[in-house]
Amino acid sequence: MVSGGEVKLFGMWASPAVRRVEWALKLKGIKYEYVEEDISNKSGALVQYNPINKQVPVLLHNGKPIVESLVILEYIDEVWKHHPILPKDPYERAMARFWAAYSEDKCRDAVRRVFFAEGGERAKAIECLEETLRALDGELEGKEFFGGENIGFSDLVLGWMAFWLGVSEEVASFEVLDPKKFPWFTSWIDNFLQVPAIKENLPPRDKTVAFFHGYRRLHLAAPNC
């Protein structure tokens, strides 16, 4: 375990954004205290440390808060320089950041749309999602991970798809993870989930499926919330 001051992580067990921070901490062997937040009843501490967004994850390092999971990952990589997450070369760093942004700007939205789509909207939503999977599949061609031989920044940011996309498929009854259509991406999922820091740090599947069933029901009942 590596120290380097007091590290606290405010999180929520089902949140992919929180897990990606935990994966980074585990990969670097950084000791931290985890604080589970009740999202329906946010603590004073969370609101104090993240007054603008009031969201998890929040990393507290020696009392200073860092928010937004991608910002936290870059911070962790800069403070604890061993076992680097981002590559050294500026062009490769830009590419890693590009695919991380793609995860947040396109993939999340695409999965969300399918997850909540009903009736006629579903087919179109699936088409959009498959477009993103095609892009990711293309980027992975010839590689074990987005980061190359080892997992890196893009893998950690896109990593939610390795677990939560499967959960979404089960909850919302759809199927997109076809090895024939997306051979590299589906292999990547297997590779990613085998990495010890990841494998040992995933939420329980059944509990997660139940949680997202509830989440989906709630949203479909009151879609403007």
Partner: protein, 231 residues
Amino acid sequence: MILERMAAAGEVVKLVGSWGSPFVVRVGIALHLKGVGYELLQEEFGKKSEILLKSNPVYKKMPVLIHNGKPICESMIIVEYVDEVWASAGPSILPADPYERAIARFWAAYIDDKLPSAVPILIGALEGSKEQAIEQIFTTVQLLEDAFTKCCKGKSFFGGETIGYIDIAFGSWLGGLKAVEKMVGIKFIDGEKLPLLVGWAERFCSNDAVVNIMPQVDMLIEFSKVFQKKN
């Protein structure tokens, strides 16, 4: 208008984009801060050039920086790339301290969450509630005034004595904000409510790295008529 400069020997730097886009302006400012010569490949409105489609097949959007044949996409990612590649040329765009870098990245992400989804609505380039867009812009600029008060009071820019990451992320929108102020008759960067930002905006817009790149307000207003014609 965007000022191009002669590239250094052996370096080929091209910027695919359009003069009016705040995202393109960001990259132009970063290149100017570092004294990097580049060629602007001006995109035609309503059309996407071959080079844009080839260099950014995923998003098909500008800006794209093409450095010695390699494309880099997404404006703030490009700004960081420029800062890293030309680290020894010109002042650092991102601060050295990791915590301050995290703050800078947070604000850039916040700005990109709030302004691109609001300003274009007021120009007529995006569908949406004008009232909500106006409120969103007011909230954003007030938070940035507070942030400037907390971190940078007494200094010229968010980045300190020189233009930095937050300055570029936010400042690139000043042309568009001023245009929208005229079009809807609302003052967003109001001297009474945002005294620090008013001073900051003047310093930013008159800075050498910005003055020839920031699109002129009248030209933006003229350009935005194309959206009104459609509606």
